[in-house]
């Protein structure tokens, strides 16, 4: 079997201690929460940290506080299973519960955390491979190499954002709390991500994500739709989060955020502008959906052919909006048509 490289494991009980270990070891150290992303990556030698700082012993990172009126604060180490089943989240932030519940499979949702999910590495099927495979390829920009075989002319990495929860977190206008040896800062979820497959987070290596702060729900309804080959455990190769607030027949507010395409979750501002303030009709929904086609970037580095993923973006946006509007819809949110209809 593939074996982990050797490392030293620390399990601090307090955030301050974790921060201190990170400060002491600098770039040799990495944090781990559920380990469902980091450990497989280490077996493939995508990361070889000498020091691992486990966050699971830190109690305060496991809490969920608040309600829909005041806003809900979720600790970074709350598991995806908990997020998907928590009554307050299920009742008012349904899209987040659904996105968390569609990650991987039950085993991984019981280990994997919301914080880890928001930080999950970008993916590319030239990169998520063993050392042997990458050596046979000749390596790539993201790890040990000089070119990007997906887009050989380009100077950047196009690895794909693959977190299911980030699009919903952005659509909810959530804020993230980060703690480091230099203190604490808050960052808007949408500013947390960068359009770069290598440096995909606006986060320093020694910053720990401690909390996800969801604002009051304020009449928003949310949903999340996910495209993948198998509903049982695949990563998203297209995710669509939509948050919608209606005022009578009009749209008061809407946020449409994609994942599983591009290197970062993308807010579809042009599509949103078409809808905001307007009376919602099927024709308008169709126009909104078409407006997401252009900004979606899909390359040949995930499952499904890229053009197919791009074509599915409007379909998924349309279906997500129709779902929130309570209009008839046959398909289930992971893209597969339900037998019940």
């Amino acid at each position: 079997m593939l074996r982990l490289p050797p490392f030293t494991y620390y399990a601090p009980a307090r955030i301050e201690d974790a921060v201190k270990i990170l400060a002491d070891y600098g770039p040799d150290a990495m944090v781990v929460a559920g380990g469902t992303d980091l450990y497989p990556n280490m077996k493939r030698r995508q990361f070889e940290p000498k020091i691992i700082v486990g966050l699971r012993q830190i109690r305060e990172l496991h809490r969920i506080n608040g309600d829909a009126k005041t806003g809900v604060t979720i600790g970074a180490c709350v598991t995806l299973a908990e997020v998907s089943q928590h009554p307050a989240i299920l009742a008012s932030y349904r899209g987040l519960a659904r996105a968390a519940g569609l990650v991987a499979n039950p085993q991984i949702r019981h280990m994997g955390t919301l914080g880890g999910n928001l930080c999950v590495d970008t993916r590319c099927n030239y990169y998520d491979q063993t050392l042997f495979w990458r050596q046979a390829l000749g390596y790539c920009l993201k790890k040990d190499g000089a070119i990007c075989p997906v887009a050989p002319g380009s100077q950047r990495c196009w690895a794909v954002t693959s977190t299911d929860t980030a699009p919903v977190i952005i659509a909810l206008r959530a804020t993230l709390r980060l703690v480091s040896p230099r203190g604490e800062r808050l960052v808007a979820a949408s500013d947390f991500y960068r359009d770069d497959g290598i440096h995909y987070l606006n986060k320093e290596a020694d910053e720990i994500l401690t909390e996800i702060l969801l604002p009051p729900i304020d009449g928003l309804k949310t949903t999340y739709w996910k495209l993948r080959r198998r509903g049982s455990f695949d990563f998203p190769v297209l995710g669509v989060a939509v948050a919608l607030a209606q005022e009578g027949e009009r749209c008061r507010d809407v946020r449409i955020v994609t994942g599983g395409v591009n290197s970062r979750p993308m807010e579809m501002t042009e599509a949103e502008r078409i809808l905001i303030g307007e009376r919602i009709t099927p024709d308008l929904i169709e126009r909104v959906a078409q407006a997401v086609y252009r900004p979606v970037k899909a390359l040949d580095n995930t499952d499904f052919v890229p053009l197919y993923r791009k074509k599915m973006a409007p379909v998924f946006v349309k279906r997500a909006l129709r779902e929130l509007l309570g209009w008839p819809i046959q398909e289930t949110p992971d893209g597969h048509t339900s037998a019940a209809g």
Partner: protein, 800 residues
């Protein structure tokens, strides 16, 4: 329900004999073996698809503390391979590598980490050669040869057979149709990776434990490559955690583990990683196919011409047999009076292909059944009736000289058509919903062994202990299909005891008589017959002494429930144990042997070795699908499947095999692809190689159709592979019924469905699939006279 059969074990849904250990997690697989002083072996694999090995230096690796041995191809220069005609593999490549993953050197070290480190210290200098990665490239680059031993370019084998004059048959047709199909390659994906442990003793004898479907062939290959007498080698096949054909070749890691153990004098274990299993492969061949069929107005076939092109990968493996199989079984389902087959396998710089469940037949079956569906539609015929009217006759010969014994396909068809409500649904469901139908047949064991010999294909020994315990010895290996259990059921039935009274000892070349292995759906029929013969001999001894003791004629005695009694006066009886002791006193130590060899095939032409079987199983299948026309996603909602098993020895195991086959067929129909970029496997992992999980699995309604076959033990035929075959075409036909597009290329992915729908919307042909086959000449066909029954008429009387 009253029990209609006279059996007490056969036909009952009993648990498998190995069920307890498996459920408790106590089955010892090869990788679970840990011997004292054991070392760990690892293989260094080529990162190039095609290259010359210029230089290899292992000194740095040897110097690493913890490393006990490093070997290269020079240590194992003798070539091997599963088929005598293609002994083209080296345990470690010597001059040249032929695919990414081809092993070139190996290390034995104190642990896996050290072995892994040592691999990095082996310096290999390669001179890359242009890589050939497709059938077209293989044919175009005939100067850039992957092997030298084959006659022409990169064509490993080209075969052409003509049974009767096909042109005469086409001339008789009212309608002729041609189609082209492609069936993508896929891999077996067993849960258990390949693993082997070798231990070379101070007595100069070698033991190899391996997760293999063919211990006998591994035994032969080890003897050849290691130049040791077979009597000094013992191969023990450990319980196999899934094989599906992927563990049927002798493999590099088995030979290397043996060699490393011989060099170090310590046991050596090699377990492949999941990625390595994708390279070791031997899975389903990608096959490009062309078929032309002439039919009468009622759908009666007058002639068929079938061409196949197999992308073989880098070595021979079973490829020559696979090539013949892509042409052999078309004739076994419907009457085909004139038939021509041309098949070609090419070498490419990719992992070698071989046998996967259905070996070489799911590809042509998919083509044939979709092709017939199109013909039915062209002629305005019902696709079910058209097929049902022209089924082969029982006790007949096909035009290519295969002997059909029993065929209950009509009953299978009626069952699934009725249960699925096909007639109410076909062409009547709303847009997006559809049903599709297909049939198939498969062999119950290959009629010929892999290497030419006159010996039995399967042998069984039985020994009875004074205490009444019975031990059954057989070379067969249980790969999950339940072959150990079948031995216990058959012997228990005949001796009138319970399966739990029997110890089954299998797959150990020192202890058990030869069985050729778990491939070609041969095991129940062949070991079952051998076990019956051995058990009947012992039963005769027991009845002799029981008859004397009870003063009842032997032929009035029955053995059941651990007793032997007078059928006319059941009060008169003795226990099994008492009979055993009387028999031992009378005849001496109790033991017997039985063996089985398939009946000789009537076909005598060159190439007639592939296809014959003691009997053929039959399957009919209806698939119901939902196709989302906006996304192209195909969801199979339900499969109805009926299988002609002859006799089900254990209906639980039969249903398990049917459902497993459906599952595997669905994976190939919808998503599985063993695909490469420039010779590098695109997705060698369980996450990215898309195969359905239990959650993607649809409802399956299975019908077991029983009509005993004279050649099977208690009338049994095969079930391990056949039920896979009709699934992909039934799904393809259902997709057409749902949204009106033909997907002539497996897997039927949403991209392809959407492309075909878009083409249709533009007014073009609503089809996705290949449009041409290579322009390459086949050799002149071997012309074979048709059997007498096909001689005068092309369309038999009374078929319409």
């Amino acid at each position: 329900m009253a029990d209609k059969t006279p059996f007490s074990i056969v036909g009952k849904p009993l648990p498998k004999v190995d069920a307890w250990a498996k459920c408790a997690g106590e089955t010892i697989y090869a990788d679970d073996l840990n011997l004292p002083r054991m070392l760990y072996g690892k293989l260094l694999r080529s990162p190039h698809p095609h290259a010359i090995i210029k230089r290899m230096d292992t000194r740095r690796a040897r110097a690493l503390p913890g490393v006990h041995a490093v070997i290269t191809g020079e240590d194992l220069p003798i070539k091997f391979g599963i088929l005598p005609v293609s002994q083209d593999e080296e345990a470690l490549a010597r001059e040249k590598v032929r695919y990414i993953g081809d092993p070139v050197a190996a290390v034995a070290a104190v642990d896996e980490e050290t072995a892994e480190e040592a691999l990095k210290l082996i310096d290999v200098e390669y001179e890359p050669l242009p890589a050939i990665t497709s059938i077209d490239e293989a044919l175009a680059q005939s100067e850039n040869r992957i092997h030298e031993y084959n006659k022409v370019g990169n064509i490993q084998k080209a075969v052409a057979l003509e049974f009767g004059d096909v042109e005469e048959g086409f001339a008789e047709a009212d309608y002729i149709r041609e189609d082209i199909f492609f069936y993508q390659g896929s891999t077996h994906l067993p849960m258990e990776q390949h693993a082997a442990v070798a231990a070379y003793g101070p007595d100069g004898k070698l033991t190899l434990w391996s997760s293999t479907q063919t211990p006998h062939y591994v035994h032969r290959a080890l003897a050849k490559v290691l130049e040791m007498p077979p009597s000094h080698i013992r191969v023990i096949a450990t319980p196999v955690g899934g094989g599906f054909g992927g563990k049927s070749d002798p493999f590099s890691h088995e030979i290397v583990a043996a060699k490393l153990s011989m060099l170090t004098g310590r046991p050596v274990k090699i377990t492949l990683t999941r990625e390595e299993v994708f390279y070791a492969h031997r899975g389903r061949h990608p096959v490009l196919m062309w078929v032309k069929t002439g039919v009468k107005r009622d759908g009666a076939i007058t002639a068929m011409h079938f061409k196949t092109f197999l992308d073989g990968g880098a070595y021979g493996s079973y490829g020559v047999a696979s090539t013949y199989y892509t042409g052999a079984l078309q004739t076994v389902t419907y009457k085909i009076p004139r038939y021509k087959f041309e098949g070609m396998r090419v070498f490419t710089n990719k992992p070698p292909c071989g046998p996967k469940r259905g070996h070489g037949t799911p590809q042509p079956r998919y083509a044939l059944e979709v092709h017939l569906d199109k013909i039915a539609e062209d002629l305005g015929l019902d696709p079910v009736d058209m097929r049902r009217r022209h089924l082969v006759d029982e006790n007949s010969l096909t035009v290519n000289w295969l002997r059909i014994t029993t065929c209950s396909l009509k009953a299978c068809i009626d069952k699934v058509i009725e249960a699925s409500g096909f007639r109410q649904k076909f062409r009547r469901l709303p847009f997006g919903k559809g049903v599709g139908f297909a049939c198939s047949s498969y062999l119950s064991g290959a009629g010929l062994p892999i290497y030419w010999n006159h010996m039995p294909h399967s042998g069984v020994q039985i020994k009875i202990d004074r205490g009444g315990g019975v031990a059954v010895f057989c070379g067969s290996i249980d790969i999950g299909q339940g072959s150990d259990s079948i031995l216990a059921y058959v012997v228990a039935e005949i001796l009138g005891i319970r399966p739990e009274d029997i110890r089954v000892v299998t797959a150990d070349t020192d202890l058990t008589p030869v069985d050729l292995g778990s491939y070609s759906s041969r095991v129940t029929v062949m070991t079952g017959n051998a076990a019956m013969e051995a058990a009947e001999k012992l039963k005769d001894l027991l009845l002799t002494v029981a008859g004397e003791k009870l003063e009842v004629p032997k032929n009035r005695l029955v053995a059941v429930d651990r007793r032997i009694f007078d059928a006319e006066d059941p009060e008169r009886s003795i226990s099994f144990v008492e009979a055993v002791q009387l028999a031992e006193a009378r005849f001496g130590t109790l033991g017997s042997v039985g063996s089985y060899k398939p009946p000789e095939s009537p076909g005598k032409y060159k190439g007639s070795g592939v296809g014959p079987s003691p009997s053929y199983s039959y399957t009919a299948c209806v698939a119901q699908v939902d196709v989302d026309p906006e996304t192209g996603l195909v969801t199979v909602e339900k499969i109805w499947i009926a299988h002609d098993i002859g006799r089900s020895i254990n209906p639980l195991l039969v249903e398990g095999q049917v459902e497993g086959s459906v599952y595997m067929g669905l994976g190939e129909a919808l998503m599985e692809e063993q695909v490469f970029r420039k010779g590098l496997h695109k997705i060698p992992s369980m996450l990215e190689y898309k195969s359905p999980t239990t959650l993607e699995m649809c409802d399956v309604e299975t019908f077991i159709i029983e009509k005993p076959d004279p050649h099977g033990p208690f009338g049994a035929k095969e079930v391990g592979q056949g039920p896979l075959l009709p699934v992909p075409p039934a799904v393809a036909n259902a997709v057409y019924d749902a949204v009106g597009v033909r997907i002539d290329e497996v897997p039927i992915t949403p991209e392809k469905v959407l492309k075909a729908l878009e083409a249709k919307a533009r007014g073009e042909d609503g089809r996705y699939g290949p449009s041409r086959i290579p322009d390459v000449a086949f050799p002149a066909p071997t012309t074979v006279d048709v059997p007498p029954e096909w001689q005068p008429a092309i369309v038999a009387e009374g078929t319409s």
